[in-house]
């Protein structure tokens, strides 16, 4: 059993070495345009999401649920690019205006956002 595990680990190691080898630059190397665009896009996504989380009604809802908005902002920075995209699509569902339906809609979206951010203790009160 152990031997089998060792073999699997070794094989994985070999595969990852083969895959990684051409990526290691001979010199310090420059950052390619593709990678730079991905970085910039990620930074833009974080900025857009933070702007939504700073909205008064969203902040109010976060606080009502016992979540410090600053904590939520911090967690956004540690999401993967895929998670950021999902979060943005969720935030896109936020209702624009006030009214009972609006407040309810904000609550729904905020709950989903918190789940995505891993702030799960919101539900301990249920």
């Amino acid at each position: 059993m152990l031997a089998l595990m060792q073999r699997i680990v070794l094989q994985l190691l070999v595969v990852s070495l083969v895959v990684c080898a051409p990526l290691a630059p001979a010199q310090a190397g420059i950052v390619g345009t593709d990678a730079a665009m991905a970085m910039a896009e990620r930074a833009d996504a974080v900025t857009r999401i933070n702007a939504v989380l700073m909205r008064d009604d969203v902040r109010a809802q976060l606080e009502a649920l016992g979540v410090d908005p600053a904590d939520a902002l911090e967690r956004v920075g540690s999401l993967t690019t895929t998670e950021l995209a999902e979060l943005e699509s969720r935030l896109g569902e936020l209702p624009a205006g006030g009214g009972v339906l609006g407040v309810l809609g904000v609550l729904l979206v905020v709950l989903l956002v918190l789940e995505l951010l891993g702030v799960t203790n919101v539900f301990t009160g249920l």
Binding site: Q27, A28, V31, G32, T33, D34, M37, E93, L112, F123
Partner: protein
């Protein structure tokens, strides 16, 4: 508790999805454009067997100025066992020939915009069902607002007039995938900067640096303030070992965007490679207010390069 939470979230998630589902079904009735458009000069290659991929690609490559016949593309494109061509292969074949394959936005309006800019659009369609797909590549060459029809080069048909609703259904079953092909010297009118720059960056990735450089220069002409276009010019000059021009290009980018981390990093690395340690030191010192992983790397590398041997300037 966890189960309760899961089901509650499931319920909550279903509400907005259900609302969205209702909207997606409605079909807009207004025409996409007032004037009819037909790119009559687009080449036509009647498709043989299952070879819609090579025929469609030869069509759009021809429209972009390439002289290519579908038969020349078959070897690189057609997968006999799958009886077809993958989207990535179409895009890769375009790059290999020195052209850009630029994704268009996933809307009918984007197709019309491309037609009006004089470019036919290569689209993927699913002519059957989601679960039993029949994939097909065609080229949109025209739009007739009065009839609500698209005009396609499709299979053996040089001008297949397809009702808009029918096309929308077959196109959406293929995730609204569409590309246009551009000569890297042609102005990227009516295209989103991001999509064009991505296609240029893909050329850089496969090592087609001359073509990538031309494309990024074209992009810079169209979007002078776009940092990715400036970076693309500088990076590809570097890859082509045209170092003095690359240094100038990074400096131009930093003049326009002094807080561009990637530009600081790449220029610092290039200066070190050229043995211009003093300049590299000055560069990271001037970037004092910036922070981030790339700036840290640049500082570390510059420090490791040791003293500045030349005359301090």
């Amino acid at each position: 508790m966890a189960a309760l939470r899961g089901s509650l979230l499931g319920l909550l998630a279903a509400v907005p999805v259900a609302l969205l589902g209702g909207c997606a079904l409605s079909q807009p009735r207004a025409p996409l454009s007032d004037a009819a458009v037909l790119l009559a000069g687009t080449p036509f290659f009647a498709q043989r067997d299952f070879l819609c991929g090579p025929a469609a690609l030869a069509t759009v490559l021809g429209a972009a100025g390439a002289d290519v016949h579908p038969d020349e593309l078959i070897a690189g494109l057609y997968i006999p066992e799958r009886r077809g061509t993958l989207q990535v292969e179409l895009v890769a074949a375009t790059r290999r020939r020195g052209y850009l394959a630029v994704r268009i936005d996933e809307t009918e309006a984007a197709i019309v915009a491309q037609l009006e800019a004089g470019r036919p659009v290569l689209v993927l369609q699913n002519l059957a069902f989601r679960l039993r797909p029949v994939w097909h590549y065609a080229v949109v060459v025209g739009y007739r607002p009065d009839e609500h029809r698209w005009v396609l080069r499709s299979g053996g048909e040089p001008e297949l007039a397809t009702p808009r609703a029918r096309f929308a259904a077959t196109w959406s079953r293929a995730q609204n995938w569409g590309v246009v092909v551009l000569d890297p010297r042609s102005p990227p009118t009516a295209l989103p900067a991001r999509n064009y720059l991505q296609a240029a960056a893909d050329l850089e990735n496969i090592g087609a640096h001359e073509t990538a450089l031309t494309a990024f220069r074209t992009a810079l002409g169209a979007w002078p303030d776009e940092p990715a276009a400036q970076l693309g010019v500088a990076n590809n000059l570097y890859y082509l070992e045209r170092y003095p021009a690359a240094v100038d290009a990074y400096r131009a980018l930093l003049t326009a965007h002094p807080d561009d981390e990637v530009a600081v990093h790449n220029l610092a690395m290039l200066l070190l490679e050229l043995g211009r340690v003093c300049e590299a030191q000055r560069l990271v010192k001037e970037a004092g207010a910036l922070s981030g992983a790339l700036i840290d790397t640049a500082r570390r590398e510059v420090a490791a390069a040791g003293g500045c041997a030349g005359v301090a300037t």
